[in-house]
Symmetry: C2
Subunit: 213 residues, 2 copies
DNA sequence: GTCTATAGCTGGATAGAC
DNA sequence: GTCTATCCAGCTATAGAC
């Protein structure tokens, strides 16, 4: 090799920080105009470079979305992993739910990029996606401490939280019409799981089959 | 007037059916490639006309989306308004939930157009939107028959159903991983509302304030 | 109402000099 | 790595003949 390792580190650090600066500008842009407002021309202008320069740091526009996804997923994982104040398992679950919902509603564009599939033909790479899946394990952990281990209950949990977030961002952006229901929703959910039989969902009578196409 | 009324009806009928044929083609296109795949060139090709002809029937691309929205909203209202088999109020609510979720999951593009805001700068007109709001009144009606009248419970209900739909279409399209939880979700919800005090959500202890930014 | 032809714009991506 | 200049594709929408 013709370079010392410190020279290599220097250059790689500069390259990394230039990439991060571009991503900063990308997020600014997206926060103002939504995910679809990201264009390479506008991004280059904000980052103080020209379009071809962007291709020195990213292979394509999708690669930029992927890097943005990776940053969002890391933020998500870090926020969820922050320590909780000591409390009983039920209050812990409420805190966890608050964090999840607050994380999602505090940045709608980030939420859409992470959890909805709104960009045509974009799929996050496995590396970018990894932190997000690790975080789902955390949810299972907190549910488990409440004695909730049934897979269908985990699914019901994700549906409940996701529904609150979705209604909040779609119908009352910036407000708290649905986020203020979190505690009640968790109470409802926990009470149900504690009373439900472990194997089958409770059914008092057969459902209206005629309506289930 | 120089035309008889029957001549006028004739022409208006022809015009209406031509519009409907274009909308049929638009829905075919969208079902195959998603909402964003609608382009006027492709639409014209499928409808057997050329691009300028589309402008003889619609003022703009957004006007086409609006007409599609109107049709979807009407389908939604009609499906929800179909009579239910006689049953008790609880089973009625389950049937209602099944219909809502099945309607949404059976046509993802239609669901996205109706309930998510994924098309840039598109807002449905008041006329197109009207059937959808009327249908929300139906949900309140069925909840009311179960003694559920609190506004916050109505919000919790919409979040719960919307969450099931969202998880289903996002993470298990074509499957039933979340739709099969409908009955259990309704049971949980109804039991909670019956036991909850009418004015305030139940809280055994104060929440972890440190986590509520 | 329907066509041919095209305007006018915006987008992602690249060639090649420096 | 960064620039100037440009290509090429896609889109909505319109002008004007028939």
């Amino acid at each position: 090799m013709s370079k010392t390792s410190s020279e290599t580190d220097w250059r790689e650090d500069r390259r990394r920080s230039a990439r991060e600066a571009i991503l900063d500008a990308a997020w600014d842009l997206v926060h103002e105009g939504g995910l679809a407002a990201l264009t390479l021309r506008e991004l280059a202008g904000r980052a103080g470079v020209t379009t071809p320069t962007l291709y020195a740091y990213f292979d394509s526009k999708h690669a930029i979305y992927d890097a943005m996804f990776g940053r969002a997923a890391t933020e998500f994982a870090e926020r969820i992993a922050e320590p909780y104040e000591p409390s009983d398992s039920s209050a812990l679950l409420v805190s966890h739910a608050h964090r999840f919902v607050e994380f999602c509603t505090s940045d709608v564009a980030r939420y859409q990029l992470l959890f909805q599939r709104t960009i045509p033909d974009f799929e996050p790479s496995a590396e970018s996606y990894a932190p997000a899946v690790r975080t789902l394990e955390a949810a299972r952990e907190y549910l488990g401490r409440n004695g909730i281990t049934e897979p269908r209950h985990v699914d019901l949990w994700t549906a409940l939280l996701n529904g609150l977030v979705d209604q909040q961002v779609a119908n009352d952006p910036g407000g708290d019409r649905w986020t203020r229901l979190i505690e009640e929703a968790v109470t409802m959910f926990v009470a149900h799981c504690r009373s439900a039989p472990p194997d089958r969902p409770p059914r008092s009578k057969s459902p209206n089959k005629g309506d289930q196409r």
